[in-house]
């Protein structure tokens, strides 16, 4: 903040050496150690997997247009929802914000030249793709039909599908996230610029730090769990086999011990993005900064203590179910605190409704609905009825899609000028945001009703009285699909034809905005020295921003 901002016109920023034009050729990308280039490599990979996972979603919704199973057989349908879940969870939702936005922004936001371990960073991308290859191989050969949850003994003994390659793919990709998280934690601890104390860090960093803690502590458990599934299938080392006295519920415990914190891996980065967006587009520092920072860590810690709520009807003891129920309600508190604080930030802020802000506002509303329905299902009495129905499906899509994906898209739009030096087209982006919001609600709100009325999940056919809501849901999915397709198109378009953005088109305050857009390879020309906290917006910032507003979507 104290280094004089490098003032350039948009055109000259492009001619100056930046990380994009520093070197050309495929080798300079595939062997890069620059965290910014690695972020872009990840952007390409996660987008591809998102498209594949989305295709499976489309096929599911197509099948569910009619009550009878007519598009595909039941076994194939099982594979559809399994592959949709596996790809979306492990290959999109978990890596997207950390590996794309986190990789790009963390060194910039802490004032460092790169992450602590650049080679580990590149390795994590390759490992991610290797895991993805195993999973894609399994898909091409017919996929898996166990559900993304791999419950035993079906996955260990009775399923005739490619469980082992898929489990191996997940095992390998887990290391990718661990490498990334390790890098983030070391960077945030050891590489902050002079003067950048913990409580001067942007809230995005706090969220990424909390996310990284969860990754380090939780991912190894799913690694050993899927490894045991593989060993049981291949070597008959049966620890989940009921014929030997094995307990399938033990698998569920081990699986969910990671997979519940995993959902906080998915949502915390999005919350971090939203904190940044709300501050930038309300021109105001986030209300209750320290509380929000601590809430991130609280979510990470408490998130490890609630996984038993996935086992309420599976056979865990009533006593432990009660404890998990109470703790699950408790974990909603820090999330709610964040929603309150964002709202308080908006209050009396100078709000502008550019595309990133549309996504941030959408997030706040949709995440609230998802979170509240989470408290509902944390209630034992309700969960007994809605477990394994579409109510649950709607709940988690509200938080994962209405939450995480909105946060991801908002962040992509906000930082696109930083990453590429270009602006995306304003009208197309706002249209997409609207399509996403409308399409999303049309897809998933009917599912709350369907689930409450009793439609089970993972069923390929259903009673005819559920058809109207299913048709609405599929219609919504079509709209949502278009809403997701448009950004891919206009972002690609903007790379060549987008208006050059200048260093700080939003007039935002942050270390990442104190350097040119796109940044030079070494991020900063001189090491920044930080003298005050984040989000120091002044009246002048409001004035400057307003003169630029008209041209930016």
């Amino acid at each position: 903040m104290d280094t004089a901002p490098v003032t350039t016109t948009a055109e000259t920023a492009f001619e100056r050496p930046n990380y994009l034009n520093a070197d050309y050729g495929w080798k300079s990308w595939l062997f890069t150690l620059d965290h910014k280039r690695i972020a872009i490599l990840y952007l390409i990979s996660v987008t591809i997997f998102f498209a594949i996972g989305g295709t499976f979603a489309g096929l599911i919704r197509l099948e569910l247009l009619t009550p009878e199973g007519d598009l595909m057989g039941p076994d194939t349908y099982n594979r559809m929802f399994t592959m949709h879940g596996i790809i979306m969870v492990f290959f999109f939702l978990i890596p997207a914000i950390p590996a794309v936005l986190g990789n790009f922004l963390i060194p910039l936001m802490v004032g460092a030249k790169d992450l602590a371990m650049p080679r580990l960073n590149l390795a994590s991308w390759y490992v991610y793709n290797l895991g993805g290859l195993f999973t894609l191989w399994a898909i091409v050969h017919g996929g898996v039909d166990t559900g993304w949850t791999f419950y035993t003994p079906f996955s260990t003994t009775y399923s005739n599908t490619y469980v082992v390659p898929t489990a191996l793919g997940i095992f390998i990709t887990g290391f990718s996230t661990i490498f990334t998280a390790l890098n983030f934690i070391v960077t945030i601890h050891r590489m902050r610029a002079p003067g950048l104390s913990w409580f001067r860090l942007p809230l995005f960093i706090w969220s990424m730090y909390a996310t990284s803690l969860i990754i380090m502590l939780g991912t190894p458990v799913i690694a050993i769990t899927v490894l045991c599934v593989g060993l049981e299938r291949v070597l008959h080392l049966g620890i989940f086999d009921p014929r030997l006295g094995g307990d399938p519920v033990l698998f569920e415990h081990m699986f969910w011990f990671y997979s519940h914190p995993a959902v906080y891996i998915m949502i915390l980065p999005a919350m971090g993005v939203v904190s940044e967006l709300v501050a930038a587009f309300a021109r105001k520092k986030v209300f209750g900064y320290r509380v929000v920072a601590f809430a991130s860590v609280a979510i990470a810690v408490l998130g490890f203590l609630v996984w038993g709520h996935h086992l309420f009807v599976a056979g865990e003891s009533v006593y432990s179910a009660t404890v998990f129920s109470v703790l699950s309600m408790l974990v909603a508190v820090p999330s709610a605190v964040k929603v309150f604080n964002w709202t308080a930030t908006l209050y009396e802020g100078s709000i502008s409704y550019q595309t990133p802000m549309l996504y941030a506002l959408g997030f706040i509303g949709l995440f609230t609905i998802g979170g509240l329905t989470g408290v509902m299902v944390a209630t034992l009495g309700i969960d007994v009825h809605v477990h394994d129905t579409y109510f649950i499906v709607a709940h988690f899509h509200y938080v994962m899609v209405g939450g995480t994906i909105m946060g991801y898209l908002g962040g992509l739009h906000y930082w696109w000028p930083k990453i590429t030096g270009r602006l995306y087209p304003g009208f197309a982006s706002k249209l997409s945001a609207l399509l996403v919001f409308v399409g999303f609600n049309l897809t998933f709100f009917p599912q709350f009703i369907l689930g409450y009325m009793g439609m089970p999940r993972r069923y390929w056919s259903y009673p005819p009285e559920f058809q109207v809501l299913n048709v609405l849901s599929t219609a919504g999915a079509s709209v949502l699909g278009i809403g997701y397709l448009l950004p891919i198109l206009y972002f690609a378009w903007s790379l060549k034809y987008g208006e050059k953005s200048g260093d700080n088109p939003w007039g935002a305050v942050g270390l990442e905005w104190d350097t040119p857009s796109p940044p030079p390879t070494e991020n900063f020309y001189t090491t920044p020295v930080v003298t005050h906290g984040p989000y120091e917006y002044t009246r002048d910032d409001v004035h400057n921003r307003m003169t630029q507003e008209a041209t930016i979507g």
């Binding site: 371990m117 661990i178 934690i185 070391v186 458990v221 620890i239």
Partner: protein, 245 residues
Amino acid sequence: MASTPLVDRHEHGYGAPHGHRHPAHQFETMAQQKESSTLGMWLFLVTEIMFFGGLFTAYMVYRHMYPVAFQVASSTLDATLGGTNTAVLICSSLTMALAIRSAQVNQLKRIVPFIVATMVFGMIFLGIKYVEYANKFHENHVPGPSFNLVLEDAQEAQAAAAADPLYQRHAEIFFSLYFIMTGIHATHMIVGLGILAVLIYFARRRKFDAEYYNPLEMTGLYWHFVDIVWIFLFPLLYLLGAHTH
């Protein structure tokens, strides 16, 4: 004759970039680099704690459910071999610590011998493990279609059956855990041996000295951790039934 130092020795301030060693481009000082590697390695070890921890958790659950079967199954393991292996690993930890210390005090010629000693102990461990696995194979204690637990002592077999009629099936769970836990541990040992071999290569090229020995130290942390895992595996797997014989 006093060993001639391989590198220039000179006074310098703590933390200032100095001499012939430069930190990697993203770091400001060698100290920052070293602290980052140390923190990074410990974070990785935390993931290893949780990785093995999952297995220990499964072990704890099943031991709670099937105490008799676990005791009976454990008694078929050779506690003497297991104990010997424990001692072997402890020796390897000593030599590993001494290898690092040699770098710290600039006795650079001792680094490679100590690493070699560590590797020898490691290979002895794996050799004994192989013998144990072979024994289990011959006794039909490997889980799967050929699993068949027959206790030599008929009275013991009767007592076990009385306490837990399905103790043989539950024992198969014990042996599954035994093979998974010691197998993954052995895999970590093999990886460790590979890393040690690479360290020998770099040590012979004089890459390490008192100013820079991060890779030695990081490998040491990993090696000691693998030792700690075995320190827990030994009593939990081998000694459950030791008092019955």
